[in-house]
């Protein structure tokens, strides 16, 4: 055994390895950011040209792939209606499920099963939810292709996201708050409605917004359920509709520059909507976070 004296510097090989890993880790981050910047840059650069009033107020009716002009009004209307309907279905079911898991489940077998399948449901491919609605709603029940069918498919994708975020928020509500209410003799359900849900409200809203942002960009389920149309259809319950992501897919598939330009502008509009939802949700979270109050 060599007797060491003083502070022995570490070997240069170890130092070099440490440095190398540091460089690799920084590089990994750069590698992840490059595609993001590239996507955002191209979407803005190629999309801004057609982001005009005509685009926002006109449909594609009577406009061929080769023609300039035309817009995504019908697609924007469709997306808004579909996402709204999907939220109307998914939020109550998701929220109630979260309430069950937090307040009534008590760690029993049913609640563990539900919890497990909520996780598994997060992994259901969006195209599969579209196929399911196609098989069940359109083929078996004989309903028409419609915005509502699309909303059904989207709601399946939203549910697990809503459950998870609401559950997390409900679990953050302090015990004491509940117990104070129980101590006053308030029944459990009223405590949940009057105390627990309002306390968790902003958190739940944020979760719903993130869920909406997730499904607003989904294309595959719409393709199978709302079909594709170039005309305005304000009625989500009857006949083919359009959706913004579907519009991008449709235009991108047409082999002309004017169509591809419209696809970029659609993509820009879609990204603006989705990013805005994300940003607002994050801001709310950040604004409400305990870290900021410290």
């Amino acid at each position: 055994m060599t007797v060491q004296t003083g502070i022995q510097p570490i070997s240069s090989a170890r130092r070099a390895k440490d440095r190398l890993v540091q460089v690799l880790v920084y590089l990994a981050f750069a590698l992840a950011v490059i595609p993001l910047l590239s996507v955002l840059w191209l979407v803005v650069k190629n999309g801004i040209g057609r982001l005009d009033m005509e685009f926002l107020t006109h449909s594609m009716r009577n406009i061929g792939a080769r023609d300039a002009g035309g817009g995504a009004y019908h697609a924007i209307i469709g997306t808004l209606e579909q996402v709204l309907l999907a939220s109307l279905i998914a939020v109550p079911i998701g929220l109630l499920t979260a309430v069950y898991l937090v307040e009534y489940g008590e760690g029993g077998r049913l609640s563990r099963t539900i919890s497990f399948f909520v996780d598994v449901m997060t992994g259901v491919p969006s195209v599969v939810s579209g196929l399911f609605v196609l098989a069940f709603w359109i083929l078996v029940l004989g309903m028409p292709f419609s915005g509502f069918a699309g909303a059904l498919a989207l709601s399946i994708l939203m549910m697990p996201v809503v459950v998870r975020s609401a559950e997390e928020m409900l679990r953050l509500v302090p015990r004491e708050l509940r117990e104070a209410s129980y101590a006053l003799g308030v029944p459990k359900w009223r405590t949940i409605v009057k105390v627990v849900l309002p306390t968790a409200f902003t958190g739940i809203v944020t979760g719903v917004m993130l869920a909406v942002a997730r499904v607003a960009g989904e294309t595959a389920p719409l393709l199978l359920t709302v079909f594709v149309t170039d005309s305005i259809n304000n009625d989500p319950f009857n006949g083919p509709q359009m959706g913004l992501p579907l519009y991008v897919f449709d235009q991108a598939g047409r082999p002309t520059d004017t169509a591809v330009d419209r696809a970029w502008t659609g993509a820009l509009t879609l990204i603006l909507i989705v990013m805005l939802l994300n940003l607002v949700a994050r801001l709310i979270t950040w604004w409400r976070s305990p870290a900021r109050r410290r």
């Binding site: 170890r14 069940f136 294309t219």
Partner: protein, 313 residues
């Protein structure tokens, strides 16, 4: 004791009933997905004149329908695995960057930047893929083919931009944020006690990470990668725009080959007849089952890790 008092309180019954019901609805939806896909797949499978699991061609709209999942399943698995191999190391690097390297003040903001990758809709990645990445990849692909062509994956006589490699790259970008986000969370949870133990022995930062952070985070990273794999397999629109939609089995990832179950559904739905739709639904059923298995496996790994973390605490 207390609980039973609440159970008796008036008005609680309906509310409990509704919330339990909502949970059961969720389970029912999962079951219904399986059931209705089977119901609509069976007639098409009966009309099939070939073996569904092994046949490569896809002609369900013909008068004598011939279709099988062989080539599609192969493409799905190959593209997702390639995406996983590309994305996981980068995602682990990104996660370490945020958890252990980036300056504290910037870490969460930089983490958010990576999360934004997940917020970009897949159709936008598809558009970006066909218009930018496909032509861009031609150069690097030729380079790989010229210099590493002796590796079977990079071999072949034709090299194109619309290849398995380009599609896998787009998939990799799309699953990177989810793998990075989960890995980051587990790395941040690595016990400070063990990190300090390593540092106090005279470990460098990397040695500390290797001794205490990575062993702790490994199950988390594995399940994150599996969740990413599930995502990649189900990803539809982006790859539908990129794949050349061929129906063969080829390992030449630079060549003009490639397709996947999901991409085929998106591309084939428009012209599908009744049998055609049934065939697509049958392929979707297979996709559902594969992703279900991958996801369940990932969740079991996570659950095991939670127990381990609890036992260690």
């Amino acid at each position: 004791m207390r609980r039973s008092a609440f159970r008796r309180s008036r008005g609680d019954g309906p509310f409990r009933f509704a919330s339990t019901g909502a949970g059961i609805v969720l389970l029912a939806i999962m079951a219904a997905i399986g059931v209705f896909l089977v119901v609509k797949a069976v007639p098409a499978l009966q009309a099939n004149t070939s073996h569904f699991l092994t046949e490569l061609t896809w002609q369900p709209n013909a008068t004598e329908p011939v279709f099988g999942i062989g080539a599609l399943a192969f493409g799905t698995v190959l593209s997702s695995l390639l995406a996983l191999v590309i994305a996981t190391p980068v995602a682990v690097g990104v996660a370490l960057f945020i958890s252990h390297y980036a300056p504290r003040r910037l870490a969460s903001a930089l983490g958010y930047v990576v999360d934004l990758l997940a917020a970009v809709p897949s159709v936008v990645y598809g558009l970006w893929g066909v218009t930018f990445l496909v032509p861009f990849m031609l150069g690097p692909s030729k380079f790989l083919n010229d210099y590493l062509g002796w590796i079977p994956l990079f071999g072949g006589d034709t090299v194109v931009g619309r290849s398995m490699l380009t599609a896998s790259l787009v998939l990799a970008i799309m699953i990177l944020p989810i793998i990075a986000a989960i890995s980051r969370e587990v790395f941040l949870q690595a016990p400070k006690m063990q990190e300090e133990a390593a540092l106090a022995l005279g470990a460098t930062r990397w040695e500390m990470i290797r001794m205490s952070v990575l062993p702790f985070g490994r199950p988390g990273v594995i399940s994150a990668a599996m969740l990413g794999l599930g995502r990649a397999m189900g990803e539809t629109i982006a790859v539908a725009l990129i794949f050349p939609a061929t129906f063969n089995i080829s390992f030449k990832i630079l060549g003009p080959y490639g397709n996947s179950i999901a991409a085929n559904i998106a591309n084939g739905f428009g012209e599908a007849t009744e049998v055609g739709r049934g065939a697509l639904i049958a392929s979707g059923l297979i996709l559902f089952l594969i992703t279900l298995l991958v996801n369940m496996a990932a969740r079991f790994v996570i659950a095991r890790r939670k127990e381990y973390a609890r036992a260690a605490a």
